[in-house]
């Protein structure tokens, strides 16, 4: 089922990930978050933007362990830990945040 964003109909896969990376815009994250009753805060956006930059550089969505380590290095130890990231994204920082960021599901995530 496609999702409606700013009057456009965007194709997603059976788990809700964007079919086409280039379809992404910030409103996509807002629409996806709303459907899961999540209010996106600056803290959410910091991780979403971090993921998009990671993908841009490495062409992959990082595994949770890698994301946690990389966030810790870039944004500090108080953010680079599972507790912080799972509080922001209770469905899993890999799965949920990557989805909002318009990325594919992290490689190796089931």
């Amino acid at each position: 089922m496609p999702i409606e964003v700013n009057g456009k109909s965007l194709e997603v896969d059976e788990e809700g990930y964007l079919a086409n990376l280039n379809d992404w815009e910030p409103a996509v994250a807002e629409v996806m978050a709303k459907a899961e009753d999540v209010d996106l805060t600056d803290d959410h956006w910091e991780i979403i933007n971090f993921l998009r930059e990671y993908y841009e550089e490495y062409q992959i969505a990082p595994a949770v362990r890698v994301l946690t380590k990389a966030v810790g290095k870039k944004l500090g130890k108080d953010k680079g830990n599972s507790k912080y990231l799972y509080e922001l994204f209770p469905y899993g920082p890999g799965k949920q945040a990557c989805k909002y960021a318009g990325l594919p599901k992290p490689t190796g995530c089931v």
């Binding site: 550089e57 490495y58 992959i60 595994a63 990389a70 290095k73």
Partner: protein, 133 residues
């Protein structure tokens, strides 16, 4: 007890799917915290060339992903010297792959180890599991 896994990469990128499949298996396997090594021999060394740009062939350029291997704690990357030389290549033609050593305040270290065929044979002999692509 962690086993020693070696992924042998023997094919050029893009012409066949082996290079990309191997890379995905390595990334997935990295979650299992084994002792992982990668070897690039034969046409496999072409996977690591720098300056790849696939805009003209309509395929995804997955070469940047090799630079993320350090983040996945995959930092033993063996490149066979003879294979490089036969192809008119040197280390300078390859991407600079590094990893950061958390125990040494994130000091950046080289991941690529240039080895001769006989040195590589010894490394392979020492592995528990060998997967060839």
């Amino acid at each position: 007890m962690a086993k020693k896994f070696m992924y042998m990469n023997t094919k050029a990128p893009y012409g066949t799917i082996y290079a990309l499949e191997s890379l995905e298996v390595v990334l997935i396997g990295a979650a299992f915290e084994q002792d992982v090594s990668l070897a690039f021999i034969g046409d496999g060394v072409y996977q690591l060339t720098k300056g790849q740009n696939t805009d003209g062939i309509g395929m995804k350029n997955f070469s940047p992903t090799y630079t993320a291997l350090g983040d996945y704690d995959v930092n033993k990357i063996y490149v066979e010297k003879e294979s490089l030389e036969e192809r008119g290549l040197s280390l300078d033609d390859l991407q600079h792959l590094t990893w950061e050593d958390e125990d040494e305040d994130w000091a950046e270290k080289d991941s690529i180890r240039l080895v001769s065929r006989s040195e590589l044979a010894d490394v392979i002999e020492d592995q528990d599991v060998i997967l060839s692509f």
